[in-house]
């Protein structure tokens, strides 16, 4: 069944191989690089905040973009990126650009692994089409009126398993809600890696007969 993406959220956490003491965190340089990378997105220097908890590991640098739809946080043990409410291809390109800028331009310590979580609200052509598809997970005889799926899949080009969940959307009557979770070992994320993951998530959906519509609105 063909579905159309309506809203996408992405969360990324890259864990460092060892936690950084405050003196190792180089927040002055990180702040400078963050401003260089994101000033074109409206980041003002004073919006970059360093929180000093103590000299050990209780400290972080953070900032927000896009009216709160993008949050970035550098802590002693990881970098966290949350980008939410991407509603079209243009938004998604900005999301990819933001993630890429963090890994290309901000000085980060060695990364042990990265957790990547994405979710998407999608819609089918109609409520009937959605219900008909989702019926495969229901069992009226046992009064299971709605269901969903949790699958762990391997996809072409992506090195790790992807855990995908599919269920009825609470937002769109004709909607299906997805989450994908996976890890990426050691290396920094790049535009090419994210493209591969994008393809892998589509491939994962295809394994349960859901195909993302091409040529969606720009």
């Amino acid at each position: 069944m063909e579905i159309t993406t309506r809203i996408v959220n992405v969360a990324i956490e890259s864990f460092f191989k060892k936690p950084l003491l405050h003196k190792e965190a180089r927040y002055d340089e990180v702040a400078q690089r963050c401003w260089e990378a994101f000033s074109s997105y409206g980041l003002k220097p004073t919006q970059i905040v360093v929180r000093f908890g103590d000299l050990a590991f209780n400290h972080d640098l953070s900032f927000m973009l896009f009216n709160g739809n993008g949050t970035f946080k550098f802590t002693s043990e990881k970098v966290e990126i949350h980008l939410q409410n991407a509603v079209n291809r243009k938004d998604y390109e900005v999301v990819v650009d933001c993630i890429t800028k963090v890994y290309e331009h901000i000085p980060l310590p060695e990364i042990s692994h990265t957790l990547i979580t994405a979710s998407a609200q999608t819609t089918a052509a109609s409520v009937d089409a959605m219900q008909q598809y989702m019926m495969r997970f229901a069992n009226p005889a046992k009064q299971i009126v709605h269901g969903g799926a949790i699958v762990n899949v391997l996809c072409k080009g992506w090195p790790q398993e992807i855990r995908m969940t599919v269920e009825r959307s609470l937002v769109f009557p004709e909607g299906i809600f997805f989450t994908w979770q996976t890890t990426f070992p050691e290396k920094k994320l790049s535009r090419d890696v994210l493209k591969t993951l994008d393809d892998a998530c589509e491939e994962a959906a295809g394994k349960i007969d859901l195909v993302f519509a091409k040529n969606q609105a720009e």
């Binding site: 809203i7 959220n9 969360a11 690089r33 260089e36 990378a37 000033s39 074109s40 997105y41 409206g42 973009l65 896009f66 009216n67 709160g68 739809n69 993008g70 980008l83 939410q84 409410n85 991407a86 509603v87 079209n88 243009k90 938004d91 390109e93 900005v94 999301v95 650009d97 800028k101 290309e104 331009h105 979580t117 979710s119 609200q121 959307s169 609470l170 937002v171 769109f172 809600f177 989450t179 535009r191 720009e218």
Partner: protein, 202 residues
């Protein structure tokens, strides 16, 4: 509710929780958080309408970037500002074939880079701006003996320099560099005006 809340003036839901869980924290006064757990059947539909209205009426990420680009362009000349606005307004198939609209994040980087270049050089010569068919932007400068084209590409900037030697021969140079490497961008600009004698990437 787990806690008795004081009378609420209004509640802002600023986005969808990633997993649609209708539980979470309500911060008050920036210091105290109240745990809430809503009665799903009673509020699900109104909440859905609220969510949908928020998405439909709110500014999108790309629109936010476009807004910032317009603000950045305000510090450029009227001519450049107009050109950037024209590029932002291009729609799909603007060339009558299959050209893509200019990517908002690319135009944002172009506007910001030109703004910084204008602030950091004594004499700022404006480039000619042109869209490319695949949604990027090219900047062109022409001087007597040197030409410089810097194009935004997927992985950053691609620069092409042309120098006309004393024998009339054209010499071509190329380089690619990161989108955020403004120092290198400025080096190429300096090369154009002879302040850098050697092509900067060499």
């Amino acid at each position: 509710m787990n806690a008795t809340l004081p009378e609420l003036g209004h509640t802002d839901f600023t986005g969808l929780a990633a997993r649609e869980k209708l539980t979470g924290n309500l911060p008050f006064g920036g210091t105290t958080a109240w745990v809430f757990e809503v009665n799903l059947p009673a509020v699900a539909e109104p909440l859905n309408r609220l969510h949908r209205r928020a998405f439909m009426s709110g500014i999108t990420i790309a629109e936010s970037v476009q807004k910032t680009t317009v603000e950045t362009a305000a510090s450029l000349s009227a001519q450049l500002r107009q050109k950037i606005n024209e590029l932002a307004a291009l729609e799909s198939n603007w060339d009558g074939e299959t050209a893509k609209p200019v990517k908002p994040h690319v135009l944002a980087d172009v506007a910001e880079t030109l703004k910084r270049l204008g602030q950091q050089t004594d004499v700022f010569h404006e480039p000619f701006l042109a869209p490319t068919f695949d949604g990027f932007v090219q900047m062109e400068w022409r001087e007597d003996k040197r030409y410089l084209d810097i194009e935004a590409v997927e992985k950053g900037w691609a620069a092409i320099g042309t120098m006309i030697g004393s024998d009339g021969q054209r010499h071509y140079y190329t380089a690619e560099f990161e989108r955020n490497d403004f120092a290198q961008f400025a080096n190429f600009y300096q090369w154009l005006y002879g302040n850098e004698l050697i092509w900067p990437s060499l």
